[in-house]
Subunit: 176 residues, 2 copies
Amino acid sequence: MKDFPLSKAYQLIEPGPVVLLTTRHDGKANVMTMSWHMMMEFTPPRIACIVSGADYSFIALAKTEECVIAIPSVEIAEKVVAAGNCSGRDIDKFAEIGLTPLPAAKVSAPLIAECFANLECKVVDQDFVERYNLFVLEVVKAWHDPARPSPKTIHHKGYGTFAVDGEDITLDSKMP
Amino acid sequence: MKDFPLSKAYQLIEPGPVVLLTTRHDGKANVMTMSWHMMMEFTPPRIACIVSGADYSFIALAKTEECVIAIPSVEIAEKVVAAGNCSGRDIDKFAEIGLTPLPAAKVSAPLIAECFANLECKVVDQDFVERYNLFVLEVVKAWHDPARPSPKTIHHKGYGTFAVDGEDITLDSKMP
């Protein structure tokens, strides 16, 4: 994993990929699958996400206020779905599913070696948690794997069906 | 446009497509391009989105508390980018760009005929607008074009580059 500019973090999240969210609480790392997230601000890069109170990760996220958003490509789609099909209450998902935790630089939650990008995040606002389970995150460090410049992400369309990235097109846009 | 079940609205938004957001204020319809949105709740279908105070649509959305999220496919990608490259302050975007407004059922903002799906929305919470420009929407009526069952959406990766949906894959998921 190599350093990735924070100012470009939105280019990873804005397209709506399914991501993995890691946490570490009481020494125990966990990972969940997540599609309900969005960019909120370019600088500092801020991300909103929904983590249900029913998810085992909820308490870890709320208490430690740290997490990693790890972005998988289609090659590990089966592991991504597997992470969504079980709970960290019952098992060590990293060991069971075959995901490799790596130490992060600024948060206790682990990076995931198999993901082409990892965003270290701190929870900066929980005011919408009670009402909507909405956490506001700030990306404090970003990593990517330069060996995989054009990863194909997956986008959940419901009930285990995912659109895989196809071709890229570029149009003359004034938008960053 | 045919009726589409509200309970499945998330299947349109969760994959992270670039969308068009329409409003109508003081009799004038407008449309903007938007990628910063996410599902918040299945039932009622709730969507969060960021609309900058610098966007001309901001006042219309905040004052009328109504909008339509229209979902385009790749065939009209140039129109989607064009809608993001200009402001409704200066022109009638529908006429200039060649988008056809259609009357909605429950909101004053128009549907867009060229989009394969349209979600009529009401703003239900502005408590995070001042802090983050974050609007909470509830989908009150959904439409889709049954003539286009497998539209390819586009996902913004920054500076006018978009990933176009490729193939679908289906895995054995417990997630809705």
